[in-house]
Amino acid sequence: MGVRVNMDLWLVTLLNALVWGLLWALLALGLSLIYGTLRALNLAHGAFYMLGALLSWALTPTLSFWGAILAAPAIVGLMGVGLARLLWGKREHDSLTALLLTFGIMLILQQLATIFLQTTTGSLRHSVVSPLRWPIPVGDRFYEGYRLIVAAIAGGVLAGFWGLWSRTRWGCALRAVCDNRALARVVGIPVLWAQAGAFGVGAALAALAGALVGPITREVSPTMGVEVVLVSVLIAVAGGLGSLGGAFAVAFFYSFAENLLTAFADPMLARAGALLAIGLILLIRPQGVGGE
């Protein structure tokens, strides 16, 4: 009986780590893509994640949950394109200026979300209801079927993105911009639009993660992205900034570490332990897993 219970616990914990690994990968991949093309560590990434969750929550009564998780990333993605054109369209910024710019965007978006919620609902934290109740028995435990759908969607989007990145002209252009912007411009690649597109895609990926995660965390609030951006940045840095494969690998490493530590060690130390593990990666490989 004891062995069986432990097997069940292992199974649901690993399943959950897989789901969160995919969600962290969506976030870290977007962050890494933006850094690769714009050389900007996007601190507004958490705000895009929050906007995705908030828009999806706000649009659900009109569009249904499934319509809302399509619309929210599209809106945030377009907004990302617009912001990139506005801020990087006329001039390039050094890393520090870019960091401050994205920090400013984060504060503005967070404040706008606060004002929106305060004026429309009078409250800053709202419960999110899962679009379906589908408990899947795993021995003595249950695993929520919605999470498996999240894994399927996130996995599908990541695979689709990987296909575009590695097998299409668009992906080729983006890779060229990442490698050498001046050279990319010389060979006729519209660098500004490529950068804006990358920023938009990165923002949309973050928003999709936010929209999907709402029914898991069960709440939306203007500050929900703050913690997320810190972890995402660490994952992207440990993955090797600009390295999509590295970000992907560290996202899974982090998720498995956090879930296993929570389930089998001490929940109070789980996040700190997982972050420490990322720190160890950087200690061993300061340029990150996929960095050169």
């Binding site: 649901v12 419960s127 109740r133 408990p135 995660v213 898991i216 879930n259 929570t262 389930a263 929940p267």
Partner: protein, 418 residues
């Protein structure tokens, strides 16, 4: 026949007399200022809003009852205490030193109460904190601090015997590490062990992790009769939803303090069948017969429906029991101030002595029922209730008399100098 000169002389004299008397009477009727250490933002903002409304209503009633010692009472709100101890402490200081509050009622946040208590003593101002962490009437309280509504320890003292007899003695306690959650876990653990039961403690960081699923997985159902939760409102909702995904509500008894869901509607599937310890029933038809007239008047004046919702917004749940802390603090001040004919801060030591050991019969001033204020730790003792969510509505299962919540205190503030 009155000449013009006589007319002018008479009317001028009359006007002078009215002006003079008006000024004298205004001087006599200097208002008594009750300050509210008010959290407008942060985790307890919704509670802050309703406590403020209860204070407005209570003060209006006091003024309808000819004020305190014939003087009108005025509510003075602090700057936003922001659910932050340091900010709340500064707001208290400003209330007393700049806005000249004579008494202060507030914050709902225990951390702020603990930070404020020493300032209340140094400013010699009677303070009625509204958080319910036990420590505010124990090691962090002092002679100027009075608790007009229960603490965690009083609630658990009142309900533990009922819980062991009716729900079981093998507890798993999942709790937030903030004062509110930690003090519940400690109180219960002591009671359970003393009763020969078993307890597993699962502390959860604050703010709680985004996903509570891995935390829920730590609960060992083979060793659990009662799953006890100790979180603030939004986190309680998240925790109980995560527990519902595991079907826990139908596999074990789920218990918590009403403060965890005080502002939540109970018409949710994840609340069905769960148990709560409360200081007062949410629904009017669950209130004991002998208190119903006072209950009706209290609800009407604060703006609460018979089902416990706001009269202005029928979707908004009012933390009805929690508000007694503020409402009754106003009437404690009135009762004690009238006993000692309080005129100003110089009379505060006498007022404190009058409060120590005060008994309050049920009335519209004390609609929660008969109560007494224990002199040693300055805590009010009142009845408690065990409620269960049945068909989406809180239903009273048991009324626990106030004597049952008496516990041995480790302090005696009456021995403290003023």
């Amino acid at each position: 026949m009155l000449t013009r000169r006589e007319f002018l002389r008479t009317t001028t004299a009359a006007a002078m007399t009215f002006w003079l008397f008006g000024n004298i009477s205004r001087g006599q009727a200097q208002p008594i200022r009750i300050g509210h250490q008010l959290d407008r933002t942060g985790a307890v903002a919704l509670f802050g809003k309703w406590h403020n409304r209860a204070l407005e209503a209570a003060i209006k009633l006091v003024n309808d009852q000819r004020g305190i010692n014939g003087r009108p009472v005025e509510l003075v709100n602090s700057d936003d205490a922001q659910t932050k101890p340091d900010v709340g402490k500064d707001a208290f200081e400003k209330l007393v030193t700049q806005k000249r509050a004579d008494f202060v009622i507030g914050s709902v946040f225990s951390g702020t109460n603990i930070a404020t208590a020493p300032i209340a003593k140094s400013l010699k101002t009677v303070y009625f904190p509204q958080g319910i962490a036990t420590e505010i009437t124990e090691k962090f309280g002092n002679r100027y601090v009075f608790k007009s509504y229960h603490t965690v320890r009083a609630a658990i003292e009142a309900a533990h015997a009922w819980a062991f007899a009716n729900l079981g003695k093998r507890f798993t306690i999942v709790h937030s590490v903030i004062d509110f959650g930690r003090s519940q876990a400690e109180e219960w653990a002591e009671k359970i062990r003393a009763a020969g039961g078993s307890v597993q403690l699962i502390p959860v960081p604050f703010p709680a992790p985004s996903d509570l699923f891995p935390i829920i997985q730590r609960i060992d159902l083979s060793k659990t009769d009662v799953l006890y939760h100790a979180f603030t409102a939004v986190e309680t909702a998240r925790f109980l939803q995560a527990a519902f995904d595991q079907n826990l509500q139908s596999r074990v008894k789920v218990l918590g303090l009403i403060e965890g869901i005080d502002i939540l509607s109970t018409a949710e599937p994840w609340l069905e069948g769960t148990y709560f310890i409360s200081g007062y029933p949410r629904r009017a038809d669950q209130v004991p017969e002998e208190l119903r007239d006072f209950d009706r008047e209290y609800r009407r004046r604060v703006g609460i429906s018979a089902e416990g919702f706001s009269l202005e917004n029928p979707k908004e749940v009012v933390p009805i029991a929690d508000l007694f802390g503020s409402w009754q603090a106003v009437f404690l001040i009135k009762q004690a101030a009238e006993l000692v004919n309080w005129r100003g801060k110089a009379d505060t030591p006498a007022l404190i002595q009058a409060l120590e050991g005060l008994t309050m019969p049920p009335s519209v001033n004390f609609p929660q029922g008969a109560q007494f204020l224990r002199a040693q730790d300055h805590l009010v003792f009142h009845d408690h209730y065990v409620e269960r969510v049945e068909n989406g509505r809180l239903t009273v299962l048991a009324r626990l008399p106030r004597e049952q919540s008496l516990y041995k205190t480790s302090v005696d503030y009456t021995k403290e100098e003023f």
